[in-house]
Structures are given as structure tokens and as C-alpha cells.
Symmetry: C3
């Protein structure tokens, strides 16, 4: 049993044999590595959702794991596959920008390698499943302490996926819903600090045209059924219904406009 | 790689980054601990469902694992977080009673500690995700053999969640559906022993107003499509359709009344 | 921590306590074994789907793991439970043929043992959950290097599940959809080699009555929205929509007829 750890983030769903094939291909190279599922339910082919997911989850990990990300609508085209060191985090992912939001908030510039050394791949290479045939075996080789520079040349060019930026003024904040969780909570891209900088004023929060009743610290601060705004566990403005489902109540989803105004 | 094992039971769903953040926060304290998913699909904020889940599943585990349970509608209020030793089982859970049904059937009284020592928590503490910021790091510290008494004071007060009790008479049993599994099998709270004590009599089982055709030992004892009553793998009365879906057939769910009568 | 690894493939779904009970029962015998989820979302009681899953996924695994398969509509009848060595792969599964398609493509004949030695089972035995009471503890014993011959007698009789065979003529191929993945890709049972043998001719691919626009090598070879035929990552003919969902577009599912004709 090895100490090395490989995590998996995909859009394969739970029902397909693709997740299992990925795990088999990893173990085929390093039978002793630990494998940890992060999610296999990233929306299909949605590398923007993968970007939010990685930026939200990976910062909580220590150095060490190799994070394999397979959300890859461009599989079989000439899009590159990358090995990335972003701060202390190591990822393997298609070059579709799914990791750049995570890296943007770190001090050091990322170190990026373009995978082009088929000696560490599985053959014969399929045209539709590079996760299994390239990323999985490469992750396993890395878990055996392969020097990443053996995987291909360093590069300073990659797809930089810009997530929608909020508009932050002294008395007005505007952003959008970037994720809806299972509880129907609406996670936005408006930083909690921007909200805090308005403290002292009376805040009006709007989701689309819906007025949010109350700004709160935690779900339990308002009676059940209240529509509240609070700072999410990820540090951004969140709109929720205490013991209820805000997405369903308001009939909104990812992309919905969110505004904060003051009356002072 | 450590021998220690942490299991996870949450209502986060498979798609959110919360499960991954929880795993990251655990590994941040103990990078070598093993992590095992039990379920992330407990119905949202439903600690009664969590109670059934834990009472059904945890008894099959040996001593050793630390079972982390995050079904926590009260997060951010002053509800406590608890470390519990229930028989040989060790759990970390919000004080909403989700573990008391499990403990009720064990010989020894539970040993309960109220977590109040922030030295073992993750900072800064969010108001909405104590699973990640408190339970995850505390579990990891326990996996490193931290003495539980370091986590806070022992307590003899906690929320005791009483599950609905069946009515058991010599010739009449009344209970309810407490879980519907993926096969549509209706799991009730009527003990199999109570059913056995009626053996010799002809039994009539009713789900709501639906008469169950047959009392059987196993699914395969009746032709496909038959509505049968049997003793579930958890030891309680179950109503099923052989190679079919009883919940769909009868249009019933959790909470539906179930009765057993004799004609002798 | 042990090097041994047990994988799990079930139709229990993610929400039930059955998966957790299975894991607990394994750890009850070998607390140090590694457990790896392959899928718990095989369609309920669908051992044909399990057959496709295993044949698609298990070949990517190295020798070593014990693959536990619990898709078991016959539980509690006198159907046998089997230990199977198929090539380098070791499985524990009900005798419903779910493993025979996997074994058919291997060189050596399978070695099969019928489990009848209750000394390695969990007691008391339930009538409805042999996965937990028999397969889980037996897998754990095997992970402790128990000689499989201790589990019961060798047998040469088992249920052989024949998957639907495609019709392969020099200028005409006919098969069917055997799996629809989360992307809506239609995976068929027509071998990619059969398709390759028609190369040079102009190919016409039909799904039901729908004409497929183009034969491609990878998803990205056609503009978004194009209905294409290609060779799947499993080596069979697949019908997909570039950056879209073929199953939804065509309104078809498992069992739909697929034909390939040439015009030369």
C-alpha cells in the first residue's frame, strides 16, 4: 500500500463503466495507489462547472494528491492535455481552462507541462477516452514519483478560462449565480468581503427581480421559510431559504443576475 | 498510509464541491488516513432519514472507524456538535438526534463529548459548513489517536430523536413505512420477531388500504409481480413486489400506515 | 493497511444503507482491506446491464482485486453464488450470468467455485441480502489470502448469459444499442473491426429509422450538433451528437436497432 493519492473529478455520472475503467487503468500502472472520488457528477461537458468545482474544493487539500480532472468535450481534437502545478496542488486536465480559476488566486505562477510522451500512456490510444488512456496512467506514473518533466515540454500557453467577474462599486454590487447546490442554495460570484465593506448601510439584495428578505449570518438566524442572503462557506454571497429551497422558490438557476444596493 | 479509517455520511449530493472540501479538510490534518463514502444522498436536511440510515448500516461495522455524519439543518445556530461512543462505534455528528436510534439498541450507555475546543478546528470558521471546518479536522485528529477528552467536556444531555414506535399487540401489529429503497421495497418499523410471534395464524398485511397477497421468506418465493410481505435484511417487516416496485405499484412512500392482522 | 483491494458493483443506488452495510460487513472480517466503488447505479435487478458494465470495465484492471458484484434479483431462491477466476480477474457474483460475457473474450476457460461453505459467511443469514451476508465476508476472507477452494466445490455448470449478437455480413452490419451513457451516446454491440472492414466504401448508418450524417474518428471531427458514428472507447460502433445528446435527439434507448450499409 502506497501513501500516494489520486483524486478523480469527472462528468461521467455514476452509472457508466467509464469511472471503473479509469480506476482500472490507474491500478494497472500502480496497483497500490489510493484512489479518492471527488465527484463524477460535474454537468456533462461543462468545463465552466468544473472550474467552479475545482476552485471551490481543491484549496482544502494539502500538498501531495494528484487531482485528475476529466471533463473533456474536446477529446480527440488537438486540444492538449496538461500537467499543472498550481501552488501546492498538482492536476492533470484537458487544456480547456478548467483549472485556471483555481490557479488565479494563488501566489506563484503555475508550472504547466504539455503531455506528449506516449511512453507513459495506455495503448492502443482511443479517440474518445483520453482520461482512461492518457490521464489515468500518467497520474499513476506520477504517483510512483515520476519526474513530471519526463511527461513533455513545459509550456506557458494554455486556455485561460475567465469566469464572469462581478461588478463591485462602493454602493452597488452586481454578479450572478454560479452554482446551485443540492439544497437549492444559490452561490454567487460576489465576494463576501465586498458585502462586508457595505456593512453599516441597509442592504437590499435582489435575485433577478426577487427581493431577498434579510441579510443573515447563518441559515438558522431567520425563521424557516425566510429568503436570506449570507456569506457562503466558499466566501461569496449566497441566497438561501432557511430549511427550504431557494432555487425552487424563485425558479432561478446558474447565470441569474444578483444585485446588492444600499439605501444610505 | 495509515490503518485509520474515516467514513462519511452526508446530504450533500454527488454534484457539489462540499464532499470534496470535506475530504480535503480531513487530509489536511491526516494525509494518510483512509476515507470511505457511506452515502452523500441522505435526503436534504432530513436527520430522521439519517437516523434510519445509521441504525441500519453502522451495526455492520467493526470497532475502529470514525463515522462522520453531516446532515445539519441547524448549522450556524447554537446546536452542539458531538463526539459519540455508542457501543464499539465512534461518531461525529450534529446534536440533532441522528445517532440516538443506533445507540438505543446497544447495551452500554453512550459516552458523549460536546466539541468546544477550537484548537482542533479549521479556521476561519464559516457559519454554514461546520462539517468541513469542525467535524472533518476533528475526525482527522481522532484518526491520529487524539484522546477524545481533549475535544471538550463530557455531557449527558443531547437531543434524543425518537423514531415512530410500532403498536404491537398479540393479534395486531401497526407501524409505518420508514424507508423506500431503490427497488421500491417498503421497509417498515414492525419488528420481524413480532411477525414471527404470530406464526401459525393466517396473516393479513395491509399497506394503507392495499391488501398484500402473500407472506413470503424471500423475493423469489412468489411469481414475478406478486405483492409480498417478508422480513427485510434489517430485520423488520418489508413489503415488496417480486421483480417489481412496490412503492410505484401502490403509490405510497415514507410514513404510510402498515398493519398486520390475524384471522384465527 | 493491507495491499488487498475489493471493488464493489451493485444496483443499490447511492441513497440506501445497503452499500454501507456491505462495506461494514467486509471490514468486519478484514478491517485493513481497501474498498473501491465501481458503481452502485447499475439499473435495478438488471444483470444484463451488469454484464455490459463488467465486460466494459473489468478488462482495464490488473490482477489482484476481488470484484464483488451484487445485482441479484434471484436472492433467496436456490440460485448459486459463485467465485470466478476469468483470466487474471477474480469475481464474486450471483449465478445469473453477469460475468460470462467478460469471460468469453479471455483465452483460458474460467475457474468457477460454488459457494457453499457457511463458515465464511455472516450469520444469521438473511433471505434478502446475500451480498452483505455471503459475498462481502467471503471477499474479505479472500483478501486475507484464503484459498478459494475452501469456499466450496468447483463447478463447470453456470448460467451463461448470451448478449444479443450482431449480424455481420460483408456489406451489411446489424446490431443494437446496448448502453446509453450520461452524454446520451449510444453504444452498440457492432465491433469496430467490422466497421473497419468496410472501409473504402461509403457507409450509411441507421439508428432505427434515423440516418446518421457522418462517420467520424472523434467527437470533435464534426461541427457541434452533428449526428455522427464513430468507434467507442470500448471498441464498438457508437452514435453520438457532437457536444449534444444523441439519445435525446433521436428519442431512442437500449435495444434500438442499428444498421450499417454500403453503397458500393
Amino acid at each position: 500500500m502506497s501513501d500516494a493519492l489520486i483524486t478523480l473529478t469527472t462528468d461521467f455520472g455514476q452509472a457508466s463503466p467509464y469511472v471503473a475503467a479509469l480506476k482500472g487503468a490507474i491500478l494497472g500502472v500502480n496497483p497500490l495507489v489510493r484512489i479518492l472520488d471527488l465527484s463524477h457528477d460535474i454537468p456533462a461537458q461543462d468545463f465552466r462547472a468544473a472550474s467552479f468545482f475545482l476552485a471551490s474544493a481543491i484549496p482544502y487539500f494539502p500538498a501531495g494528491p494528484i487531482h485528475v480532472v476529466v471533463v473533456d468535450p474536446g477529446v480527440g481534437t488537438d486540444r492538449a492535455l496538461l500537467y499543472v502545478e498550481a501552488g501546492q496542488h498538482r492536476l492533470l486536465a484537458p487544456d480547456n481552462g478548467c483549472w485556471t480559476e483555481l490557479a488565479r488566486h494563488l501566489d506563484a505562477p503555475p508550472r504547466v507541462i504539455r503531455l506528449n510522451e506516449p511512453g507513459y500512456w495506455r495503448g492502443p490510444l482511443s479517440a474518445t477516452f483520453h482520461g482512461r488512456d492518457i490521464l489515468a496512467p500518467v497520474a499513476a506514473w506520477l504517483s510512483l514519483n515520476l519526474d513530471p518533466d519526463r511527461l513533455g515540454p513545459r509550456t506557458t500557453e494554455w486556455v485561460d478560462l475567465r469566469m464572469p467577474a462581478p461588478e463591485l462599486k462602493p454602493d452597488y454590487l452586481k454578479g450572478e449565480v454560479v452554482f446551485v447546490d443540492r439544497f437549492g442554495n444559490l452561490i454567487t460570484n460576489i465576494p463576501g468581503q465586498a458585502l462586508a465593506s457595505l456593512a453599516g448601510s441597509t442592504l437590499h439584495v435582489l435575485v433577478g427581480n426577487h427581493h431577498v428578505s434579510q441579510v443573515a449570518r447563518a441559515y438558522g438566524d431567520a425563521p424557516p421559510g425566510t429568503l436570506i442572503a449570507l456569506v457562503s462557506s466558499g466566501g461569496t454571497l449566497e441566497v438561501a431559504v432557511t430549511q427550504g429551497n431557494a432555487a425552487r422558490r424563485l425558479g432561478v438557476g446558474v447565470g441569474e443576475r444578483v444585485e446588492v444596493r444600499t439605501t444610505d
